[in-house]
């Protein structure tokens, strides 16, 4: 091998970088953690079917925001015929007041930090 020292050092660095997540999770020991968002409301249903909400709630909120702020339309009729006031604070957070144990659990896991709370008021929670 020619210039073996440098080449092997480069390869070791490459392998260390590629496998770094494995070592990281060995150190933190959290690879099997699952976020379990807690539902506290007495209601049975969300504004849309659960599976759809899990994947699409950001799009829904975006549509609500556009509808309220741009079109002045505040009423949302859900698929089951119920009408809701399109509001982040007054609708979502009414049924999901436990932001830290609901929204944030998933969001921390998936590394999303919605900037909505720069302006919208978070529900007051016992910390």
């Amino acid at each position: 091998m020619y210039d073996g020292g440098k080449i092997v050092a480069g390869l070791v660095l490459f392998l260390a970088l590629v496998t770094s997540p494995i070592w990281y999770n060995v150190v933190t020991g959290k690879a099997e953690y699952k976020p379990e968002p807690k539902i506290v409301t007495q209601e049975k249903e969300c504004v849309a079917p659960k599976a759809w909400m899990t994947a699409m709630h950001m799009t829904l909120l975006n549509d609500w925001r556009d509808s309220v702020v741009r079109e002045g339309n505040r009423e949302y009729v859900a698929a089951n015929g119920k009408a809701y006031n399109m509001s982040l604070q007054n609708t979502c957070m009414q049924c999901h007041p436990n932001k830290a144990e609901f929204c944030d659990r998933c969001h921390n896991y998936a590394s999303v930090k919605p900037y909505c709370w720069d302006c919208h008021v978070e529900p007051k929670e016992k910390k």
Partner: protein, 336 residues
């Protein structure tokens, strides 16, 4: 035709994953077995090829330089173009790896009309920055996207992911926030593909192996964008799957959506294809002899590594051997 072969191959990969998951229910194959196999091939393949390159001797300095070599103190030298020592070579390499300096020198040839020239036409060379721009935009976006994906491979998420996300989603458009790298990489890949079609010379030398990575990367980018903004998958469950892979306790949660498996399968295909293809330039750039050798062949003696002691018969020995005959013939001798 080459482009069609490559496109066809990528379409087959997409269909394979789609049917495999949605019709045959092979989630375990596409979510666990294929990714593990792919990463193993990737790592072993790269190490094997780099070590194979390392066995090839570089007997002399290959100095394709475009600057004055360091010589006498009053001759101005250009150490970056013609590095006299290891430090300047490292600087040249850094610019090559981080800024794609060689690509920046790309020129395009065209015919310009000129009344004085024979035939009324004259060849002109001009700088062409688009290849460089497309390449650098693609590579840096790819890096940012790779770093962002660490949210799927670390728990708690590593510190740099939120930083990268904030910068990438700086304009705060929509929800989920639009990441600019997603748009830029699409544009860059689109240009790199368009270039192969639009320029006749480049089209003539383009092989299926040139189109395939482009189509594959486009497939990965498009499936990723669809997953995030349009068709949606359950991100939390997707992370449970990736964390299972990372922690070697594979799980296949129900209901992630087949788009995720298509994305994962295309990435696995890219990773398997990597060591066998031109994509190995990732490792190769560090070993390119025209870039990583200092131009010091006049200052230092470089001995060919496979030199063996050669038996020589010097003039002195020859003269000694035939001394009497030379004297007899009256020919003058070196050693009287």
């Amino acid at each position: 035709m080459n482009a069609l072969y490559a496109l066809f191959a990528v379409v087959v990969l997409v269909l394979l994953a789609f049917l495999g998951v949605s019709a045959a229910g092979l989630q375990v194959v596409f979510g666990v077995i294929v990714p593990y196999a792919a990463v193993s091939v990737f790592l072993i393949g790269i190490v094997y090829r780099v070590l194979k390159w390392a066995t090839i001797p570089v007997p002399f300095r290959i100095t394709t330089v475009c600057g004055q070599q360091k010589s006498l103190p009053w001759i101005k030298s250009s150490p970056l173009e013609s590095p006299p020592n290891g430090l300047w070579t490292a600087a040249r390499m850094a610019l090559e790896v981080l800024a794609f300096r060689s690509l920046f020198r790309n020129t395009s040839i065209s015919l310009a009309s000129d009344d004085k020239a024979p035939g009324g036409k004259r060849i002109v060379y001009s700088a062409n920055f688009f290849l460089w721009l497309g390449a650098i935009a693609f590579h840096y976006c790819f890096l940012v996207i790779l770093l962002r994906h660490f949210r799927f491979f670390t728990e708690p998420v590593v510190f740099f992911v939120p930083l990268v996300q904030v910068l990438d989603g700086f304009f705060q458009v929509g929800a989920p926030v639009v990441y600019m790298t997603g748009l830029i990489i699409l544009g860059a890949l689109g240009y790199l593909l368009f270039r192969r079609f639009a320029n006749p010379q480049v089209r003539y030398i383009s092989l299926a192996a040139d189109y395939f990575p482009l189509f594959l990367l486009l497939g990965i980018v498009i499936s990723g964008i669809l997953m995030r903004y349009f068709l949606k998958v359950d991100v939390v469950k997707a992370k449970e799957l990736t964390m299972g892979l990372i922690g070697f306790h594979p799980v296949v949660p129900d209901g992630i959506g087949s788009l995720f498996y298509i994305h994962l399968f295309l990435v696995s295909a890219l990773v398997v294809y990597f060591p066998f293809s031109k994509l190995m330039h990732m490792g190769g750039v560090f070993l390119s002899p025209t870039r990583n050798l200092s131009n010091d062949s006049r200052a230092r003696r470089h001995v060919n590594p496979w030199n063996y002691p050669v038996h020589v018969h010097t003039y002195e020995e020859w003269e000694e051997e035939y001394r009497d005959k030379i004297e007899a013939a009256g020919i003058p001798l070196d050693k009287g």
